[in-house]
Every structure is written in C-alpha cells, then in structure tokens.
C-alpha cells in the first residue's frame, strides 16, 4: 500500500476526529501500521479541529503530519491552513457546502462535493464527515469497502449502535458521488 | 505480709499499652504529653491498637511515630489529611487518625484540611492549637492572637498587615462532610476528662462510619510563650478561650442524623440533583459492581500481610 498521510480539518463538531478514527480502524483491520493524532487544547473548544492519520507498512515516525498526501477540508480556514502542505500528486477533498474558494493548485487533485448538503438531503445530518471518507475511499482505494464498513462498526461506541447503519449509508453516498 | 498479698490490687493509673515507654521530645509543661496520653487511652479502651494507623505531622509532635505502639506514618508538613486519606482509602476498615499542630493544619495544610473535611473522609483529626510555631522556635502561627508577640511578630500581630487568626472549628462547621467538631482544652482535671470524652467520640465516630471528626485542643507553649506552665494556662484562659470558645461546633448525631451524609442530604433537600435517591443515576450505577465485589478487589489490591 502507498502510505496514506491524511489530515482531517474543519470545525469542532463536524466529526473529524471520528472520521479519522474510522480510517485508523480500517488500517488496523488491514494490519497496517497506524497512528491517529488530534489537535488538542483550547483550540478545540469551539474552534478548528483537526487530526492526522497515517496508514503505512513501515513503522510510523512522527504521527504529526507535515506533508499530507490526502486532505479532507470541511471549512474555508482549514483549507487555507493545510492546502499548501499537500504533496504534489496528492488529493484534496473539499466540502463545498461550506467552502466557497477552491484550491488553485494544479499539481494536486481536488475533489469538490457538497458533502454537508448531501448528508442532510439523505436525512443523515452530521455525517458529511463519513460522506467525505467514502469519496476518499473511492478515489484512493486505500482499503476495501468491507474494511471501512467493519471499521465503522468498531469505531461507533456501543451506546450509539443505532448510528452504524446511518454511517454506512453516508459512506455509500460518498462512494457514489 | 500474707494478708497484704491477698488484698486485691487495684490499678488506678498506668501507662496506656498503646503509648510506648520512651522519652518524648516535649518540653516540660507542654500539653502534647497530656493529649498523647488521652489518644492512647482511647485506643486502649476501644481495643483498636492493632487496627489503628496514625499519621504524625511536622511540628513538635513529629516524632509521634516513636511514641505510639500502633502502625504509624510520618507526613510532610501540612499533608497529614491527604496521607491519612490515602491510607484510609486502602484500609477503609481500619482506624486512621492524624495529629496536627496549628501551623501544620491551618496554614501550610489548610487546603488538605478543608478538602479532607468536605470529602467527609472517615478519619479522625486531633488538632493542637497553641497559637505559635513551637518546633521552629516561636514564630507567628495562623492562630496567633491579634497583638500576640512572637519571633516573627515582634511588635505584636498587626492584623492590618498579618490578618486575623483562623478559627478552625467555626470554619469547618459549614462543610457537609463533617460529622463532629469540638473544641476542648486540658488545663484542669475536669477539662481533661471532657477532652478525653471528645477524643473518644471522634474515634468512635470513625469506627461507626459517621464521618469526619476533628477535636481542637486549645493548648499552651510555655517555652515559646516565655512563661511557666501555670502562667501559660492562665494566659490561655484569659486570652485564647475568649477568642476560641470551647464547645461543640458540629455533631450530626446530636442533631438527630445517623451520619454526616444524612445531615448533608437534609441540608441539600431543596436541590434535586443532590438528592441521594436520584433516579437518573440508577441506570448509570447499574453497570457498577456490588459492594462485596468492590471490597474483594480492594483486599486483593492491598497486598501486604492481610
């Protein structure tokens, strides 16, 4: 597998840390080396939230990703903050429900989708994060659909088991987008 | 002679078993000796020497661990209530007491004192208030009286700059975790008997699981006050007792409650979330193990010679 260095970035409450956890679990299921690192502290309280997820076949050095090859950006400030860090040939997934100005780089692939609106239309409010994971899965094929589905089952806490089905739906919407 | 041998011997006074036959470091005329003895008599009378774990402070009673026959820990200055908390949480079925002076308890250890009390730690605190730092040679204490001359208040405690003394029993009496607070002194046989009764009650409360108990003993320090022991008592009666009135400041049992928790619940009755039978918590608590399992796990966790 090509090493996946993914930055998930957006507002607190958009489920970015959870989306990162789903991808990390997918890596765990497929026996890759995995790390997941959140931003933490006051910046989390109502402000931006981001996390770094690395899937690799080599032991992972720094879990803090300075040069992502995949960026999921769920608001404008996050896109501005991270788009220049993405390595040439990398992918940027943008939720255009919330981002108006798209990246102008021509050395990366940009995938724009109205993830938040798509989720809301499907009565899956709050699952734009997983819609974007679905899109990334389709475009990168970092693992199989079955693996991500299993990862969702692991990442959703038992108390919220009712949400598993909705997450799977959101994943499919992203895959088909 | 044979007649005398048949006469029944009646012991009217002897060293308590839990007080070891060692020379203490106390100055002549110091009241620590009296209070040490009262604590030891209490331990003997309750038959708890083998079940008691003491905590000594930093101050004149720092060597307490050498004077008592029960297991003992020496705590850092002011930390005795925290140390006692650690011991009591490991051994909830044992009797844990701390013995502290005014600087230890009401100055450097005030946070530990207040929080052990408000947590309702089921421990017993014996508090010696002699309005001065004795061991370090007579500095101003948190309980030194206004205008009292000490080494570090050579012109008298100036309340405009050094503030006012702390009345510990009054301060702690507002806390819901507290079961029993009494201020006593040991300047006369009558008062010594009263002090003994209070100390015994403070230990009995712990055995009965009633809650945090503290006995404040208004004491003297003839050496650092620069007085004879009898003059010191006179000074104490004249100056300290008006500022630190003797009496009971909290006694939940006398107030008609089974323990501190029941008294606290009554006080909080108008606050829905504080109610002991809060139904919202039942579901959350359902996942917790039984008390028996908890005790079993605790016993396993202790290791040691139990």
């Amino acid at each position: 597998m090509q090493e996946m260095r993914i930055v998930f970035a957006g507002f607190g409450g958009q489920g970015l840390l959870f989306a990162g956890k789903v991808v990390a679990y997918a890596g765990l299921i497929d026996n890759h080396e995995v790390s997941w690192l959140p931003s933490y502290g006051p910046e989390m309280r109502g402000g931006t939230a981001n996390c770094s997820v690395t899937l690799s076949d080599e032991p992972i050095g720094s879990p803090l990703i300075m040069d992502p090859n995949n960026l999921i950006a769920m608001n404008q400030p996050s896109l501005l903050k991270f788009e220049q860090d993405v390595t040439p040939g990398g992918h940027i997934f943008v939720d255009t429900s919330l981002v108006t100005r798209l990246p102008e780089r021509d050395d990366v692939e940009v995938f724009a989708l109205e993830a938040t609106n798509m989720a809301e239309e499907a009565k899956l409010k709050g699952l734009a994060n997983i819609v974007l994971v679905g899109k990334m899965l389709k475009e990168t094929g970092f693992c199989s659909l079955e693996t991500v589905e299993a990862a969702i089952r692991k990442a959703v806490p038992p108390k919220k088991a009712a949400l598993i089905e909705k997450n799977l739906q959101a994943l499919k919407i992203g895959m088909e987008a | 002679m044979s007649n005398m041998a048949q006469t029944e011997e009646k012991i009217v006074y002897q060293r308590p078993h839990s007080l070891l036959p060692v020379v203490t470091n106390y100055c002549p005329g110091c009241t620590h000796g009296i209070v040490n003895r009262l604590v030891a008599e209490t331990i003997d009378e309750l038959g708890i020497e083998g079940d008691t774990i003491g905590v000594s402070p930093v101050g004149c009673s720092v060597m307490l661990y050498d004077f008592f026959a029960c297991d003992f820990l020496e705590a850092a200055h002011g930390r005795a209530p925290a140390v006692a908390t650690g011991v009591k949480r490991v051994h909830p079925d044992k009797v844990v007491f701390a013995y502290q002076g005014d600087g230890d308890l009401a100055s450097i250890g005030m946070a530990e004192t207040v929080h052990a009390a408000t947590r309702g730690e089921k421990i017993t605190i014996i508090f010696i208030n002699n309005a001065i730092y004795g061991m370090t040679g007579g500095q101003m204490a948190p309980t030194s009286l206004p205008n009292q001359v000490t080494q570090t208040s050579p012109y008298g405690r100036d309340v405009s700059t050094a503030g006012y003394p702390v009345r510990v029993c009054e301060l702690l009496s507002s806390l819901d975790g507290v079961a029993y607070l009494e201020r006593v002194t040991v300047d006369s046989p009558k008062n010594i008997r009263k002090a003994k009764k209070a100390i015994k009650k403070a230990f009995q409360n712990q055995i009965d699981g009633i809650g945090y108990s503290l006995v404040e003993v208004v004491s003297t320090c003839p050496t650092n006050w620069g007085m004879t022991p009898t003059d010191a008592f006179a000074w104490m009666r004249e100056n300290m007792l008006p500022y630190y009135p003797l009496g009971v400041y909290r006694d939940v049992v006398a107030e008609g409650y089974a323990n501190a928790a029941e008294a606290a619940a009554a006080r909080a009755a108008a606050c829905p979330i504080a109610m002991a039978d809060n139904p919202q918590l039942d579901e959350i608590h359902a996942s917790l193990p039984s008390k028996a399992k908890v005790q079993d796990a605790m016993n396993k966790a202790q290791g040691g010679d139990r």
């Binding site: - | 051994h91 917790l288 966790a301 040691g304």
Partner: protein, 354 residues
Amino acid sequence: MSEKVLMKGNEAIAESAIRAGCKFFFGYPITPQTELAAYMAKRMPKEGGTYLQAESEIAAINMVYGAAAAGARVMTSSSSPGISLKSEGVSYIAGTDLPCLIVNIERGGPGLGSIQPSQSDYWQATRALGHGDFQMVVYAPATVQEMSDVAYNAFDVADKYRMPVMILGDGMLGQMMEPVELPEPKTELPEKPWATTGHGNKRKKNIANSLYLDAEKLARTNDERYERYEIVKANEQRAELVDCDDADIIVVAFGASSRIARSAVRAAREEGIKAGLFRPITLWPFPVDALEATKSHAKAYLSVEMNMGQMVEDVKLVVRDSAPVDFYGRAGGVIPTPVEVLDKIRQIKEGLGE
C-alpha cells in the same frame, strides 16, 4: 493473544496499570494528561478501585504516599507544572522507600508554558524531582504499545526495589492513538510485610518515615539506598538500537523525538549515510552499557530532543572524548521535523569529511 485495539497513549497507560493491579489513582486535572485521569474515573469504580480527584497535585501525591505505605499499588499522573508541585511528595516517597507510579505527560515550559508536547522535564525526572539524594526509575516509551508495556511492568519494578517509578511521556504520545494489545490482568501481587496496615497484634509495628535526626543513621539510609540503585543500574537499563551495528553517526533520542529521529535515520540510510538510532527506553538508569558498546565504531553522535539540550549531557558522559556529540532540539512545544534532523545528520556527515 488478545485483539488489538486503538487507544490513546494516556488510556493505554491507565488500562495497563489497572491490569497490573493498581487499584488506587489520585490526581488533579491538567492538559495533556486529561484522558488518563478521565479513564481512571470511569474504570476504577468498575474494578472496585478508587479514583479520587484531589484538591491539588500536592494532596494527590501525598495520598499516593499514604496508599503506598498502606501496601497498595497506587499511581498518580500529571503534566509538567503539576509534576513540579508533586516534587515534595516524591522526595518523601523516595526517602521512605515506597513503591508507586508517577506519570508525566510533558508539556512545554518553563512556567505555565504551553500544552504542546515537550521533553523539557528530562533533568527533573532523572536528576532532581525534589530535594535530597534519590532516583526514580524513569521509562520513556515511544509508542502506545510501549506505554502499555511499561505501565504494566512499572509496579513490579517499583515493588522490587521499593522506589518510585516514572513514565515520562509527552502530549503527543499521550494524545495519539495506535493499535495496542493489552496484557492479561495480574492475579498475584507481592506481599508487603513492611506496610502500615495495622499490626493486628500479630507483628511488630511498622513505621513509614523519612525523618532521621541522627546524621549517621540518615547517612546509612542514603548509603543503603544507593547500594540498591547500583543493582537497579545493573539490572534495569533498557534501550532499542536500530541500525547501530555499522553506524558512523548515531542519533540518540527517546520518546516522541525518537520517532522523528527514526524517520530521519531511515532517510539518511536511503541517501547512503550510515546512520543509526539509539533509543533509551530507561532514562534512569541511563542505558550506559549499550551506548558504551557503540563507541568502538561510531564516529559522531547526535542527541535529538524536544528541549534545549538535557539528555545530551548523559550522552556526553558516556561518549566522553571518543567522538563528537552534537545536539538538535526544539523547545516550547515545537516538534522537530524529520527533515530538520536529516539536515543535521547531513551536516555532521560533511563535518566528518569523508
């Protein structure tokens, strides 16, 4: 073999400590160790254990002192400023020869500093966490799995030598999730005949104390403790060596910075530079013997740390004049990048003039 799960470093320490028989946790909230205390608050009641949020770090460590003297496996955790507050209690614990675990999930300093990861408490941990002559065994795990492993074993080491053990982590290791395989719960715990449990009229009384007014007697307790430290030094040094066998340049790094150094060393090898990574797992005792062995062939050493240069002194004490010892570090919560470390390795390579 149990299933691998994703856990934060903070949580892995907590869970493995519980599985090691630790049933008492006393702490106080501080970032970035928060998850450790929160995990304990949730798990301890289910294990029949005690989680107590103390009024201060000072109170927490003194509760640890009490519980340790009373014979329990007990721990506390905090982050840099909170560890400073605990220093008094740790000195008493060491002076009383009590076993316990102290976790420091370091953040930037000095003062209130930052909440970002740092390794600025190396000196505090290995030299002087508190007054008086004493040492703690200090572990510096570099992965979540290793955080679990050292927490699981820490209590055995603490009990064996009757001394405090510290896990020195940082905000990055504490906050990150990695797969971890958790150990089986320990069922047999060591007897502690010295504990203050109440003598039950069955044995001589026990005293937990660090006060010795007789200077000769106090000197003797120090001598005996240092004899024990020599045994610890002989038995407990731990290090990981990566590609050190033929290395010209040995990068020495621990914990989070060792992960960055590992990436840099790998990149250096790809460029044909014979670099290796020497990773101390114990900071005290410092793995002197393993580092000493590298002196036969290493031409230069580079200490990489998230501080202004602390461990580098221990490296120099071993290397002495056999090779130059360089330092690269970022303080204040800044994490050095592999590229920066690689640049430094290249510079050293050039300096060797080969």
